[in-house]
């Protein structure tokens, strides 16, 4: 086993070999998930706590299902309505939970770096389910698996990420992962939604869709948050759709077999045309959701193996 991480806090610390190992294992779980008996025992006896400090339905459901299919005891905590309202700090919440001896902690938080901070204070494995604008590693891994299955490889592809790059943790994790795997990454979006210093990331930056999408293999659309639509970063929803919304005409600049991706939930008619999203020949958006469960199972499996190995070494014998 090459995967040597204690936590999955981001794509940044992962090696290409580790990424490949996650994806290979996830393939097995894709098969399991498509079979009738969707059960494995990789996490039997372990406790998984999902702490979401930010609203999420899809990601939380995906992590929950992944944990349950691997036999973990899964608990969901909706943090935005609980202790934080009572003035408890993140660290205190972490210490409280730590005392319940969880094995896997899945955390989403609205502030960049908050999951790293939490990971320093607990002695279980922490999975970042999205922190601020920083990283969302399992999303990048499931996108990678989707691309690899659709294109047959995950290297030397030209991939365009379009939309609100500045506020997107999905974009950051994807840029890091796709570059580690030796792909060409293009970013397309209005300059107000591009982070400063982005050119230093070794990506090509475009503000024109037709130019940016030329001959790409993969078109990855990002969700535009509703609160950014009115006047602050872009003038209006309709102008954004006209210039950056993915429709058949803009897609025609990409390679004929280019696939279309979206991390969801979609704003049809804002960043993506409904027909393209539903086009089964081009859109792999439903596959992404399916891969999400498998990838999360793979990551948790690998982290749990490491956790058990470390505990054996420490002589605690908890898992013996």
């Amino acid at each position: 086993m090459q995967f040597s991480q204690t936590h999955l806090l981001g794509i940044e610390p992962l090696s290409p070999v580790e990424i490949t190992e996650v994806l290979d294992l996830a393939e097995q779980y894709v098969d399991l998930n498509q079979s009738e008996r969707k059960h494995a025992d990789a996490l039997t006896g372990l406790t998984q706590i999902n702490m979401f400090f930010e609203n999420s339905t899809r990601t939380q459901a995906s992590f929950e299902l992944a944990g349950k299919r691997l036999g973990a005891d899964v608990m969901n905590m909706a943090m935005q309505v609980s202790s934080l309202k009572k003035g408890e700090t993140l660290i205190d919440t972490a210490l409280t939970l730590n005392a319940m001896h969880p094995d896997l902690l899945v955390v989403r938080h609205p502030h960049s770096g908050a999951v790293d901070l939490l990971a320093q204070k607990v002695n279980c494995s922490v999975l970042n389910a999205g922190d601020g604008r920083h990283e969302h590693p399992t999303q990048a891994l499931l996108d990678a698996l989707t691309i690899r299955r659709a294109k047959g490889r995950l290297y030397r592809l030209s991939i365009a990420i379009c939309g609100d790059i500045a506020h997107s943790r999905v974009a950051r994790s994807n840029i890091l992962l796709l570059q580690k795997m030796e792909n060409r990454v293009r970013l397309i979006g209005p300059p107000t939604l591009m982070p400063a210093g982005i050119a230093d990331f070794g990506v090509e930056v475009f503000d024109d869709m037709a130019e940016g999408l030329r001959d790409v293999d993969v078109v990855m659309m990002l969700r535009l948050q509703r609160e950014r639509m009115d006047g602050g970063f872009i003038p209006s929803e309709r102008e954004y759709y006209f210039r950056y919304g993915l429709d058949a005409e803009k897609l025609s600049f990409a390679k004929p077999d280019a696939i279309v991706m979206h991390p969801g939930p979609m704003n049809r008619g804002v960043e993506i045309d409904g027909e393209i999203a539903d086009d089964i020949n081009r859109s792999v958006i439903q596959d992404q959701v399916e891969m999400g469960v498998a990838v999360r199972m793979a990551v948790m499996d690998l982290l749990a193996r490491g956790l058990r190995a470390r505990r054996r070494e420490a002589g605690k014998g908890v898992m013996a």
Binding site: T89, L90, I91, H109, H111, S112, G113, A114, D116, L117, D131, G132, R133, H134, E135, R169, R172, P195, A196, G197, I198, D200, F201
Partner: protein, 424 residues
């Protein structure tokens, strides 16, 4: 009462010299110096060839009285200052409540001088409650001992309010210290925009916001002819504007902080909140430009910007964590990095640490000349050590230098000829 410092390496920022010699202190003031055979009589301090320099005058020290004494008191700050070679603390009014009326100022000054072993000179707020709406009683506050007026890191955004305060201050002969920053651009920022902030997903401010703030302030000084000091200039782009303003004869000086001189944005690494300061740490290019400006004398003053924060306010996600770092004790060893890297000589460093701040406030300190107050620091610039934050004398331990290798230690500190730090 005579004390004779023999066998010293005298660092004289006024003359720009760094040479062996002796120094005589008589009745709290400097009585003479030389490099020949020292005179007889009096108590003797053998400096062992180490550096003897005028004590540091630190503009912008936050002592958390009134309001947050658990973070720092005048006693703890004073001990930290003495241990760091700071002989005069010029304290900030950004306490809770703000020091914005003569009664509070008098109370604070009384407490300070009873509790701290070093000189304490208070600053007062420029506007009531530091809210940027009405000016404070500048005249009364000066009578009560305020040496400068500042709203600290709050920018007075209303130019009408600020221009009136500047004009009134000029009439009183008061020095106004401001934080050059554009308020809109820097709102909610926790880092400087660029690759690092983008990689870490932190809300960031363009370095241009500092230049915009400075440009605006320079226009207002030109209009009002006020005495003005910019607390921290930290970016390359602000420097040409500062240079022009000085060339045009405006009464403007500028400072920078020890952290912006010795650290850059990448030191934040994995969201280390002890590196969160205001303004945020800059790029390495900016840091080098600021060091060069200090060498050339364009930037006049180095401050510790000592800002105590308790563990709770730092143990938060980076965006939510409080800004600021304690620095009274680490100021000298940290800026000595610039001496060891051959960026600045010791006289150049002490010009910015002692001489210039004293001059700007109209003090006689900061010099080794006859008749100047005997505020002195004896230090060995070479002694290496690893900083352990729990050894700091400040009540708060939020230093970014924890665990770092430093070089240079304070051996003794004297205030008005009286030893306040170091074994006799």
């Amino acid at each position: 009462m005579k004390t004779l410092f023999t066998n010293a390496r005298l660092v004289d920022p006024e003359a720009g010299t760094d040479a062996p010699g002796w120094l005589l202190v008589e009745d709290g003031v400097i009585g003479g110096r030389g490099n020949d055979a020292p005179p007889e009589g009096g108590e003797r301090v053998d400096c062992g060839g180490k550096c003897l320099a005028p004590g540091i005058v630190d503009i912008g020290v936050k002592v958390c009285e009134p309001g947050e004494r658990h973070k720092e008191s005048y006693r703890s700050a004073g001990l930290a200052a003495a241990a760091g070679g700071v002989t005069t603390m010029v304290t900030r009014p950004d306490t809770t409540p703000a020091i914005d009326n003569p009664e509070t100022l008098e109370f604070v000054a009384r407490r300070a001088n009873a509790a701290a072993p070093v000189n304490v000179l208070p600053m007062a707020a420029l506007t009531k409650g530091r809210e940027g709406r009405e000016m404070t009683e500048i005249g009364f506050l000066m009578d009560a001992g305020a040496v400068a007026f500042t709203d600290c890191d709050r920018v007075v955004s209303d130019t009408k309010v600020l221009s009136r305060a500047l004009i009134y201050a000029r009439g009183c002969g008061a020095l106004v210290i401001a934080h050059p920053q554009d308020r809109g651009l820097s709102a909610a920022a926790a880092a400087t925009s660029g690759k690092f902030a983008s990689l870490k997903g932190l809300p960031a401010v363009s370095p241009m916001a500092e230049r915009m703030g400075l440009d605006r302030d320079i226009a207002l000084i030109e209009m009002t002819q006020a005495r003005y000091h910019a607390d921290q200039i930290t970016t390359a782009r602000a420097l040409p504007a500062l240079e022009r303003a000085k060339r045009n004869g405006l009464d403007i000086t500028a400072g920078t902080s020890v952290h912006h001189l010795t650290l850059n944005e990448f030191d934040v690494a994995d969201y280390r909140t002890f590196f969160k300061v205001k303004p945020p740490l800059r790029s390495e290019d900016d840091r080098q430009a600021v060091v060069a400006a200090l060498r050339e004398g364009l930037i006049d003053i180095i401050s510790s910007m000592h800002t105590p924060q308790d563990e709770e306010s730092k143990r938060l996600p980076y965006e939510e964590a409080a800004s600021g770092a304690v620095a009274l004790e680490t100021l000298l060893p940290a800026v000595l990095r610039l001496y060891h890297s051959a960026d600045l000589t010791l006289p150049q460093l002490f010009r910015a640490l002692s001489l210039n701040p004293a001059r700007r406030l109209g003090l006689d300190a900061g010099r080794l000349a006859k008749g100047a107050p005997a505020d002195l620091v004896l230090f060995d610039p070479e002694t290496p050590f690893v900083l352990d934050r729990w050894q700091l004398r400040s009540k708060s331990k939020n230093t970014p230098f924890d665990g770092q290798r430093m070089q240079g230690r304070v051996l003794g500190t004297w205030v008005g000829g009286k030893r306040v730090h170091g074994a006799a």
